[in-house]
Amino acid sequence: MIDSENSNKSAIFFVSIILSVFLPVLPAISQEAVDSADSSAGDPVAVFVPEPPRNVTAVDHNYDRGENVDVSWDLSVDDTSAMFLGYDVYRRAEGEGEFKLIGTVPAGVDTLQDRSTKADTGYVYKVVARTAQGEAPPVITERVVPDLEMVNFKLWNVFLIGLFVSGAVIFFISHAKRGKKLFIRKIAGLEAIDDAIGRATEMGRSILFIPGINDMDDVQTIAGITILGRVARVVADYEISINMPVARSIVLATARETIKEAYASAGRPDSYNDDMVRYITDEQFGYVAAVDGIMVRDKPATCFYLGAFFAESLILAETGNSIGAIQIAGTAMPAQLPFFVAACDFTLIGEELFAASAYLSNEPRQLGSLKGQDVGKLAAMVAIALGMLGTTFVEIWDSSFVDDFNWFIHRLFSIVS
């Protein structure tokens, strides 16, 4: 078994991948191990000192900052005995006098990763096999000096898939630049924006815009602000005002800049004033309390909720509904989407929120990026299909091609550290 391991490492690797996919199988395997252990339990042993593990090595873990060292060994010949407990791993750093225990693994495990080393420091490791009654003589490794690598080659798959998806998006952006108009399906929530603004104008009421309650360090907030730009551009043409209470100071600054610019580009810079956007409080429910108050007192005709929302989503949407406002919501918080869907007139579900500003801009380059996203989705579907076929056929067919293929498709989508 050891020979085959050396001769074909990748085969072992992919077998372990398959095993990890067939999680339900694991208990059965360990059951076998327990059974075989039981059979030897009857041996009368007074003081049982196990044989030490062999070929103990410590090597620098590749492609990291030098903070990991992999210690591995061949199992002790007594490993399968019922009395056998496991292995203690000790470490001594350069300049330290004694070995310190850094970890223990149960019987049957032949590696341990030390995750607390420093780059360019020498370490020596010691592995001790143990039973309840005694310890085997320790085995000491050679000195290992973990180092800091330049490039993390283990992430080749992230790089590859990332390059493919980003490449698709960038390709369609630049492709569109050359003037080819792309078809984009209708998104109901966005089609409704003009009507909603028109309705506010007819009623002579304001528009309420909530960009979520997260700060600018959430890409959902940025998405909300970009939609704000488009909405403000339309609103600027009418004699109505945007009312935008915000929960974050940086959002306050950004939103003002955005609306101001939108009014300027609509040729009505004088209609803009700073009071359209005001800061309330950073506190989630304090903010909601105030916005609820604003809603019932000002009775806006249209409410936009576009950004990152948490539990307050339903409080806002229900209050908005009670004043008879048209409500257009959008968020990428999966837990809050059900509430918006239930209580609002239109909801942009997840991806649609990010697509919204591109859609509204109607600019070829922006629309091109949506096409790029679709290529990503197609690729994800193909990958899932191939992966499912792979794992299924691996069970039915005994073919090295199927094995290799299945290993590859899984490796492509797993993040190895």
């Binding site: 996919v21 067939f22 339900p24 199988v25 059965a28 395997i29 992230v158 898939i161 990332g162 998806v165 980003s166 792309l182 078809f183 984009i184 399906r185 998104i187 600018m216 360090d217 890409v219 940025i222 940086i250 600054a253 800049e257 800061y279 309330i280 409080t281 950073d282 506190e283 304090g286 309390a289 105030a290 609820d292 108050g293 019932v296 837990a335 059900p338 869907v341 579900i349 649609e352 697509a355 859609y359 949506l370 679709d374 990503g376 989705k377 994800a380 990958a383 899932i384 992966g387 499912m388 076929l389 792979g390 794992t391 299924t392 069970e395 039915i396 498709i409 899984h410 989508f413 993040i415």
Partner: protein, 214 residues
């Protein structure tokens, strides 16, 4: 002392609940207090944790001068208060947006796309170890296939550049149904935990404040 806290708590609890009937001065007082106090609270927390704890201690005690970059950007942010300084406050903003884009791109990419795709690659026949594949549990297989088909249909619904017509439109429609089941299920599931919150407040009113229940 404890009593003061109890009565204040009860006053504000009922003040907020009174909003359910309609907007009224009691709610307005509660709201105004809440806004003022909470804005002050977060300002103070951020002041001691970030301005003092991170910037001041970091620069003056730990000599971590790189933090000054953050400080400089912070000051640029404030320059918008000057009549002519508005344009420079876009720099910290550009910095934030750039960093967030880069960070989110990689993060979502690896943790959402790759991980979700990986965990959907399940075998069509889930089998028990050692038994022939086709004696697998039917329910498990149906479940796996349902997850895969549902995921596919859901993704098809999100396609933007292809018109939802014909077979493709049918798949997209099935996708939105799956998504609706998801929403309905999460909604139904959350009702219970939302009720617990109200039970907690009612317990405060009837138990701790009015001492009507044990």
């Amino acid at each position: 002392m404890e009593e003061i806290g109890l009565w204040l708590g009860a006053f504000f609890t009922l003040g907020i609940i009174s909003f359910l009937y309609k907007d009224n001065p009691w709610y307005k007082i509660s709201e105004s207090v809440f806004v003022g106090v909470s804005a002050g609270y977060w300002f103070i927390v951020s002041f001691w944790d970030n301005l003092y704890g991170k910037l001041f201690v970091g620069v003056f005690e730990n000599q971590d001068y790189i933090l000054l970059v953050g400080g400089v950007f912070g000051v640029m942010m404030l320059l918008r208060l000057l009549p002519k300084g508005g344009w420079i406050s876009r720099w910290p903003l550009a910095f934030i947006v750039g960093a967030i884009s880069g960070f989110y791109l990689m993060n979502y990419f690896s943790s959402n796309v790759m991980k979700q795709v990986y965990s959907t690659m399940l075998p069509l026949f889930s089998n028990e170890f050692g038994e022939p594949v086709f004696s697998a549990s039917v329910a498990d297989s149906v479940g796996t296939i349902m997850v895969a088909v549902g995921t596919f249909a859901g993704l098809i619904y999100f396609f933007f550049s292809k018109e939802h017509k014909g077979v493709f439109g049918g798949a997209a429609k099935f996708g939105i149904w799956v998504i609706m089941v998801t929403f309905g299920a999460s909604f139904g599931y959350t009702v219970m935990s939302r009720m617990s919150l109200l039970i907690g407040r009612m317990y405060f009113i009837f138990g701790e404040w009015l001492k009507l229940i044990e």
